[in-house]
Symmetry: C2
Subunit: 398 residues, 2 copies
C-alpha cells in the first residue's frame, strides 16, 4: 500500500471539475492519489438545463464526458452514487463500494427545497439533471399529443412554473419560445396554451435590479406568460396547483423551480449545517474538519458587504474549486492556505431567443447585448474546462 | 333552393378522396352539389402511419391538406364528425350541424376490433390516425426518458405489439429501426430493450406466401423482435399483457394492431352488416339502398376465386372510389351503372429501412427490390391524388 495522501472529490459539477482540473495541474507525480466520484460519466451545465427542459436545445449541448475533462492518467474516476460519508472512519460509502480519503471535497450539489408544500415532491417536475429535464421535455410533447387525441382535456395545454427566480424565469423564457413550434407540430391553436409563472415573493428575480426585472417581465408577458407574484402555492396535486388565494389552476405540467437546499447527506455525516448548507471557513473547510472542503450548493459563504449569504451559483462553485485544490495541495505540503473571496463577474438571465437581462459591475444590459453576454459566459465555461475544442463543439456562437 | 341533386361524401380516406376527385372531373357545371365531410382538414395515408408511430418519419409525410386535393370551387368541404346517418330522412347528423343528401358515399373508415379482449380498449394504443400515432411516438420517447430517471422500471423498455398482420409487422419493422436511435439519444443500453410481437394465428401475415413470411420473420428477428405466434392475448392491463399461456409480459407500451371492423354507425343507421361491414352489390351500393354507396373498410367485397371477402385495404378503397363516383353520375343521368371488380396490383409489406417483402402477380420479391416497390406504391398514390408536385414533396425517392 502506498503512503501517499488520498484525495476524494465527490461530484463532478462546477466545483468538483474545477478542483479536479487544478489538482491534476498542481500535484507532482506520486504526491497524492486523486479520485473523482460522479453519479454520471458526464459533467452537465446546470445553468443550461432550462433549454433542453423546454426542448429548445439538444441534451448533448448541456453536457460533456468527464473523460474529456480530466486526465485519467492523473485522476481516477468512479461512476457511482454516494450514500454516506463516515467522517470518523474517513470513508465514503458508495452504492457499490467504499473509498477511503485523507482529504475530501464535497461537491455533490443540493436538493430541491419544496418548503413543505404538500404534493410538490410527488407531482411536480424539477430542472435538476440531464435525466430530469429529458422527462420534462418528453412529458410536454406527450401532453400535446394526448391533447390532440382528446381535446376536452384543456389542462394538458396549461403549464405552471412554480418560482420566478433564475431557473423559473429562464425556463418560461424558453418554454414560451417552444410553444409556437409545438403548436405547429401538433396542429394546436396557440391561443389555447397558457404558461403561468407563480412566485410567493412580491417580485420576480428577487435581488435583481428592479428596472431589469420589469423589463424581463414585459418581455415574457409579450411572449404569453401570465405572472402571479406574491402568490404562494398551497398544494400541488396530480391535477395542478391550488394557490393560497384558493384559486385552482388545472395543469398537466407543474415545474417547480422555487428553491434549492443543501444535501441532507452532509447533516447526516455530522457536519453542522443550516438547511443542509455548511458555513465554511475562509479556506472553504467544514468547521472543525481541516481535511473536508465544501464547494457549490452545499457551502454557505457570507457576503461581507451585506452580511448575508451569497446565493449558491455556478459562478460561486467554479471560483471555489481551484481554491479548494490549492488549499489541499498546501495542506499536503504544510504551506499556508489561501483565503477565498468571491468575485462577482456579472449575472445574466436569459429570456429566450435573443433576449436577456444582465448586470456587469455597475452596467445594466437588456435585449440583444445581454443575450450576447449570456453566450459569452456559457462559452467561457466551456473554454475554461475544455479549451478551444470544447468551446467550439458545444458553444452557441450565433 | 336549387333542385340539383346533393351528393354527400363521408370521410376523406382513400375511397372518399378518389370519389370526390372523380366527381369533380365527371360532373358538369351545376349538375350536382358535392359536399365532402371529414373529421380533419387533411387526408392521411393509413398505410404510412406505422412510420410516424415509431418516429421513423415525420407526421407531415403521412398527410396532405384536403384543400390541395379537391377543387373547392366544385366541392364543398366540411370539417366535422359524423354522429348519425338518418336514412329515412336522407340526412346526416354532424356534431355541429346537419346535411341533406340525395346520394351518400360512406367512407368513414372502420373501428378497432379487439375481439372483446378485456382491457385492450382502455390500455393499448392503436395505429389509426395522425392523432393516435403522435401519442404512440411521444409515449415511447417519454418511456425512455422516464426509464433513465428510474432504472428499476425495466417494463418501460418493453414493447408489446399485438397482432402480426400487415400493420403489426410493418410497425415492429420501424420500431426495431428506431430503438438504436432512442438508445443513443437517451443513453440506454440497447440490450435492455425488448420488442414482442404476439399473434393468435399460427403464422404472421396470414394469407401471405409462407416463404416470404419466413423471410420477413428472419429479418425482424435479426433486428431484435421476439415473436410469439399461436399465442392469444388473454388480457391487457395497465402493466402489460397476460397471455393465454398465463405468461405475463410487463410492458409500459402495448400497441394493438390485431383487427379492424366496420363502423358501428352503419348498423345503427339500419343498414344490414356483418361485424359492421356491408356486403355491397356489384355497383358498390348498400343492399336495398340505391342511393347509398359504401367504400373502404365498411364495404365487404367477395373474392370470387375463393368465395371469401377480400381484406379491406387501401388498394381496395382507392379502386372503389372512382367506380362509386361514376355510378352516382350514371344514376343522375339515368345511365347504366358500372360493375366493380377488384384488381390486385400487388402487395408489399415493409420491414423497416431497406427491407420488405412483396408479391406482384406471380412474382415474389424480397429485400432491396421489394423495398423499392414499396416506395413506388407510396409515390404512385401521391401522384394519383396530387400529381407531380405532391409526389415530389412527400415522396421518399431515396
Amino acid at each position: 500500500m502506498s503512503n501517499i495522501p488520498k484525495i476524494v472529490i465527490l461530484g463532478a459539477g462546477y466545483g468538483g471539475i474545477m478542483a479536479a482540473q487544478r489538482l491534476q495541474k498542481e500535484l507532482n507525480y506520486n504526491e497524492a492519489d486523486v479520485t473523482l466520484v460522479s453519479k454520471h460519466d458526464y459533467h452537465y451545465f446546470t445553468t443550461h438545463l432550462h433549454m433542453p427542459a423546454a426542448g429548445t436545445d439538444a441534451i448533448d449541448n448541456a453536457r460533456v464526458s468527464i473523460s474529456k475533462l480530466v486526465d485519467e492518467f492523473k485522476i481516477d474516476t468512479v461512476k457511482s452514487t454516494v450514500q454516506e460519508i463516515r467522517i470518523e472512519d474517513k470513508k465514503v460509502i458508495l452504492e457499490d463500494g467504499t473509498l477511503s480519503y485523507d482529504y475530501l471535497v464535497i461537491g455533490v450539489g443540493g436538493e430541491v427545497e419544496t418548503f413543505g408544500i404538500p404534493g410538490m415532491t410527488e407531482n411536480a417536475f424539477f430542472i435538476r439533471s440531464i435525466n430530469s429535464v429529458r422527462v420534462i421535455c418528453e412529458h410536454i410533447e406527450h401532453q400535446f399529443a394526448l391533447y390532440k387525441q382528446d381535446e376536452t382535456r384543456a389542462d394538458r395545454l396549461n403549464f405552471v412554473v412554480g418560482g420566478a427566480g433564475f431557473t423559473g424565469i429562464e425556463f418560461v423564457g424558453e418554454l414560451s419560445d417552444r410553444i409556437p413550434q409545438l403548436c405547429k407540430q401538433f396542429d394546436v391553436d396557440p391561443s389555447l396554451v397558457n404558461i403561468y409563472n407563480i412566485e410567493a415573493a412580491p417580485t420576480a428575480l428577487p435581488g435583481f435590479d428592479p428596472a431589469l426585472v420589469e423589463y424581463a417581465m414585459n418581455v415574457l408577458k409579450k411572449k404569453g406568460v401570465t405572472f402571479k407574484l406574491a402568490t404562494a402555492i398551497k398544494e400541488c396535486t396530480p391535477e395542478g396547483v391550488l394557490l393560497a388565494t384558493d384559486e385552482e389552476i388545472k395543469a398537466a405540467t407543474v415545474v417547480w423551480t422555487g428553491g434549492v437546499r443543501g444535501n441532507s447527506m452532509i447533516e447526516k455525516a455530522g457536519i453542522e449545517a443550516m438547511r443542509g448548507r455548511v458555513k465554511v471557513d475562509e479556506h472553504l473547510r467544514a468547521p472543525g474538519h481541516d481535511n473536508i472542503f465544501i464547494v457549490g450548493d452545499n457551502s454557505l459563504v457570507i457576503n461581507p458587504e451585506i452580511d448575508r449569504p451569497y446565493p449558491p451559483t455556478a459562478q460561486m462553485a467554479m471560483q471555489q474549486g481551484p481554491v479548494v485544490a490549492s488549499n489541499i495541495v498546501a495542506s499536503i505540503r504544510n504551506q499556508p492556505l489561501k483565503k477565498f473571496t468571491y468575485e462577482n463577474k456579472g449575472t445574466v438571465a436569459s429570456l429566450g431567443k435573443g433576449q436577456a437581462i444582465g448586470v456587469v459591475g455597475k452596467t445594466k444590459l437588456t435585449g440583444f447585448w445581454a443575450a450576447q453576454l449570456k453566450k459569452v459566459i456559457d462559452i467561457r465555461w466551456l473554454f475554461i474546462i475544455g479549451g478551444f475544442s470544447l468551446a467550439f463543439k458545444k458553444g452557441k456562437f450565433f
